[in-house]
């Protein structure tokens, strides 16, 4: 039996999220803000993992910290195309800039490593019985929401919502295409 995940760990992760978010909105250089945003999203993913939703955590990392951040960085690069001087770029990337995010990320990594054995352990039975007089206040999550559960509910009771989401995507696509094409042709 592994030690249950202490509450302090979750609070630490939440605090990391908050610190990262505050740093995002106070940075003056976009690249620095993006670095902190990545840390914020990673911390959020760790919170989700600790809550017993590993699938959501994985999605958070893949979609937000991965794909959307890449898009962000890409756009930042594109916007600075005109005055692209590598001197300024290296000025942005000085150790002082990435030291903060790196520290926070290392903290997150340590937390995750510390909690990993309990996260991977088999789930305890919901309630073994009233035998234990001392209830464990920081109990591990009673269930984990994995890919299987998410898939089942998406194609079970929420199948109509999946269809609606597809129309939402279609609307976004058509709108964006229309506005973008108009702007391009008006130039």
């Amino acid at each position: 039996m592994h030690a249950p995940i202490p509450h302090a760990l979750g609070l630490l992760c939440a605090a990391t999220t908050l610190v990262g978010a505050m740093m995002v909105i106070t940075r003056k250089v976009v690249v620095h803000a993006v670095l902190y945003l990545v840390v914020t999203l990673l911390a959020l993913a760790v919170v989700l993992a600790l809550l017993g939703a590993p699938f959501a955590a994985a999605l958070e990392v893949i979609i937000y910290a991965g794909a959307i951040m890449v898009l962000f960085v890409f756009v930042v690069m594109m916007l600075n195309l005109g005055q692209a001087d590598s001197a300024r770029e290296s000025e942005w990337m000085r150790p002082r800039a990435w030291l903060g995010p790196a520290l926070l990320a290392a903290l997150l990594c340590a937390e995750l490593l510390y909690a990993l054995p309990s996260l991977l352990a088999p789930l305890p039975p919901p309630f073994a019985g009233p035998a234990t007089e001392t209830p464990l206040p920081p109990a591990p999550p009673l269930f984990r929401l994995g890919v299987h559960d998410v898939g089942l509910s998406l194609f079970g009771p929420y199948v109509l919502m999946v269809e609606l989401v597809s129309f939402l995507l279609l609307a976004g696509l058509v709108s964006a295409f229309h506005i973008g094409r108009r702007r391009a042709e008006e130039r």
Binding site: F155, G156, P157, Y158, V159, L160, M161, E163, L164, V165, F167, L168, L170, A171, G172, V174, S175, A176, F177, H178, I179, R182, R183, E185, E186
Partner: protein, 533 residues
Amino acid sequence: MIMHDLFLPTPLPLLSCGIAIMLGSIAWRRSIRRNLSIGLVTLLLALVSVGSHIGAAPVDGAALFLQDRWAVYTAGLVGFSALCILLMSWRDMSGPRADTGTGPHIGMRTDPRTDPSIGAPNATLNATPAGASSGTLDSTSIGDEYSLLVLLGTLGAFAMVYAANFMPFFLGLEILGISLPGLIAYRQGHAMQACEAAMKYLILSGVSSAILLFGIGLAYAATGSLRFGLPVAGNGIPPLVAMAATVMILAGMFFKLSAVPFHMWLPDVMQGAPVPVAAFMAVVSKIAIFSSLVRYFSMGHAPPFLDTLLYGVIVLTILVGNLLALRQTSLTRLMACSSIAHMGYLLIAFYSPGPLQPGTLGAYLAAYTASTLGVFAAINAFATPDGTDGTTILDWKGLFFSRPFLATAMALMLLSLAGIPPGIGFFAKFEIMATGMDHHRGLLLLVLVAGSIMGLYYYLNIIRLMMVPPSLPAIRRGPGASPELTALIIVLSMIVVVGGLFPAFIIHPLFPAYQPGPPPAAVPTQRLTPESM
């Protein structure tokens, strides 16, 4: 299979099929007329089928959708409005503005005119429509997505109206909110202005959706369920969480409804949008969000702290909306401000729950829909391909002499909005007064009276302008409105007049809605109709 436990109101799959067919038709060969026809047929089918559904409703009430009288009624209004709006856009989209060959050159020539206005957004807002109809794009490439986006927005509105759960509600809201920027950007000849309005709408809609989503998240944390239902403090729910959830959900909805602390975006966006799209925003999206608001708050008892909040919002909404409308020079802007004020009147009825409420809300929504659609249809009919686009109030001067039919219809719609007897608006306002009196909302009714008096000023001002004899003899008799617009205006005028004379038609389908007793009580109907007074 899973089909047996699905419950789905028929308009949703019908609209989805229509959208799919339209996509296929666009992929096959682009034709604006065909797309508009597909859109009209789909909307007509959806309107006919608002009362039917696929599958059986689950007994435990855990369905995502719900189809009671209120939902069917508001869905009917939404479908009818969308149909009217698509009909209104028929001429703009498929009209004779097909200078396909010269399109790009005109676009190049208008560049210097639009360029300086990039730096000064206020200048673009007041720019006179000098080259209003210089079609900068050929009409074959521009109108394709229009009916598609209208159908998508209507699908979102239907999903909101039928929703009994936060999930379809929010998805519908987003579908509507995402398809609107594309529609707003459709305005001909005012590309910068339209794009500015679209961006404004996109950002503010995103902000309000975020607030709403935060509130929904808190409500879920408090109740553990995504079903509509007010989180009530007590039995394990901390009062602060319940309060924050309710206030945030309410704030998000008020943002979309443009109640007063969150109203600033509506006039700007509606002015930048094309006229039918402005009507779409003023009618379809407002009805959908209002319907959900009523549904959400009918699921439980409102906590007491909401009282002062709602009081403040209602008073501010009515007063500020009317005061803003007093000094407008643009007709769409004026309609936006008056729409804010009308939302305030509606909120009075919303704030007075009871057996009278559904009938009152239904009657007022119908009156607001018919009159607003009528005004926008008249604006659209007034616009000429090579002249004004009808949104400047001064252009309407002397219309009674040049186009008497149009001026009469417009005057009728404005009178109805102002609440003067021949129109349906009088009766609707009367109902609100009755409901408010029932709940002793003296202050609110006082504000309603004050707001209506202010409303009289700016509505009658337009009628006065239309009656001013023109200084020049009216030579330019335009080619007259196109037949479908004329028909639309006639139908809407008939609804306004007949609804004003025989209002029982409108509230009758709604009255037994929330009454649990077995006898369908017809007493309140008789007590309320003005004829029986």
